[in-house]
Point group: C3
Chain length 268, copies 3
């Protein structure tokens, strides 16, 4: 059913999934507020001593090496171990991978540890797909076509749902390609809208894990929730300070009907 | 005098206490803005090399191990030493204590170092009271009754004022129990409203240290300030993004008359 | 030409300079949003492993030791090396220097490494000027006169443009002293307005590096951009939560005409 992703938001709000975010310090506050407004519960437990035990009870885990200390890297490894031990879905956001050496090496390692989803922009997904595959690596173009091919390579190799954020979002899993038209360019003017989308992907995956919703639809639902909220916010605010406020309000406000109205989904 | 806590806000604004926050990265910005809007001055000095010297000149110190690195833990120990050396009141926020091992051990240690106040939710206070007392530990229920008993145990053992945040707030010290009705459920939808309340408790304790206001009333005043601001903000905004903005505005705006009008205080 | 600084904002928006911020965790999110709204692009790459390589491609670098871990200090040293290697302008914000020992020692060292600009308040600039000069150090008064003398000493010794934030801002370089009247006292009620100004100074220096705009005018332009936005925001919001939102909106909205109207510049 093409619109089954629309039911996911109801499950999110009924279950209030607990999302463990190991993410960069720039977007911690915003990501927590995005999760709360959308209907999830945030926890930023990221230390080596605690991240594994917490991942065993969390509904979903986000790994985003945006400003990673040595300890946070270790916390990320431990959280992934905890998540894998009990089947908690975890999401990789390969922020700036391809452009910076340490995080590129980190991502190349953990991408093989069965992330449920990978979310990035075109350049990051292209870079990640090229790693360890004898491939094009970071010199690849970041055109939509390159991103589609890279996402398919990544999805086939890792089993993850791969999402590429852009003017149109692209959601790819083995055997399925979905394009999502939604959102507003003003989303690029507020820090953390991409990073918090990664957190929301973990929330949707956790919420729908034991439901009829597929992982592909869960990832699509997270993107549609953010996209619809961005579209709605843009009707109310034209400058980035007030847009950021309106975006949080809209995440809280939209429901499946609003999302259906504000998003255009196309299976390719 | 039952209403003497209402004078504390005037002292806060006259003295602009300098509050040193060793707190989690998720809420640093929000806590600083809460302190500024309320009438205090924030400083997030939390490194091992500088936290002790700073605690000697600060008006109050907050210890909140929400996302603690090894260095920040050391910084917390040093700040407590500096505070104790000169009599600066310090506040313990036992965030997620009981649920995570490392911070539980940390809190069990520092709670014996004469915090002026402890502020947490019911589960955290119950867990903290059970530690080292051969007690119930983290398996305790978090009912209001359990929290009251736990708060009384903690207050008797440590000499601290113990505050439990909830639908109604509970302020307990040796020989006194106060219930505060104020605030709005929307406060739960904005990250950092609890953590920044801990910072504001340190501000009120620092501001009133050399006044006629008791520590119990200072802690009550901080909760009433936040509660009244939450109530006022809820009359102006019904969604979390705009509520967060209205809450900061309201912290700046309320005075003792507004607080008296919007809060209901009951001595038990 | 006295008004040549007014052209810098157009260059900023045409070039969208990439600004690497090694700054404190309290203001990372706010600084990123300030840069985005003003017309620049933020990146908070601050780890030892990545900060040098990133500084080689950034347009400008900000060094602000507000809450510095051992690793972030190392990251700062590496970023400065990378910046110097390729001529990327870097900015020193000596936050709380003079009042705290570790960062004072750090600042005394790096200030000799050719910062393009130094931005602080009067006390910080006075303290920094006294360091290593056998001078007055931190016991200096922070009057405007002392700040002017200190800024001139610093500018002569380091070759940097030195900016002192205050009721009036002071921009000093060798042979030139400019006073800027703009802004609003409400800017002091929002955390990060000073720290993000340091980031914006790096943005303006990076944007105008290969233009006819002098470094002095670039620093002045950053201050005028923030000052005009503060003035405009104050006409729309009288409390700090809504003022912060209006300030970000205004940074996005002002142009050279608005800045000319809202700022008063005086060469001394």
């Amino acid at each position: 059913m093409a619109d089954s992703y629309l039911f996911a938001i109801n499950i999110l709000r009924e279950t209030t999934p607990l999302v463990q975010c190991l993410t960069n310090a720039v977007v911690m506050q915003f990501s927590a507020n995005v999760l709360l407004a959308a209907g999830a519960s945030p926890a930023m437990v990221d230390t080596p001593a605690e991240s594994e035990e917490f991942a065993r009870t969390a509904s979903g885990v986000l790994i985003n090496p945006g400003t990673p200390s040595t300890e946070q890297y270790q916390g990320m490894h431990n959280a992934i171990s905890g998540a894998l031990a009990v089947g908690t879905p975890w999401v990789l956001d390969p922020v700036a991978v391809g452009g910076l050496s340490q995080r590129t090496e980190f991502a190349a390692g953990v991408v093989e540890k069965h992330p449920a989803a990978i979310r990035g922009n075109a350049s990051e997904v292209v870079a990640l797909a090229g790693l360890g595959a004898g491939g094009r690596g970071v010199d690849a173009t970041d055109s939509v076509e390159a991103a589609l091919e890279a996402a398919q390579v990544l999805a086939a190799r890792t089993g993850a749902v791969v999402a590429v954020s852009g003017a149109e979002d692209l959601i790819v899993s083995q055997g399925r390609v979905t394009w999502l038209e939604s959102g507003d360019p003003m989303l690029q003017m507020v820090i953390g809208t991409g990073c918090s989308l990664g957190a929301l992907v973990a929330a949707y995956l956790g919420a729908t894990k034991n439901s009829d919703i597929t992982a592909h639809d869960a990832v699509l639902a997270a993107h549609a929730h953010v996209g619809a909220a961005g579209s709605l916010a843009a009707t109310r605010a034209a400058r980035p300070g007030s847009f950021a406020v309106a975006f949080i309000d809209a995440l809280y406000e939209v429901d499946s009907a609003t999302i259906a109205e504000l998003c255009s989904v196309r299976e390719a």
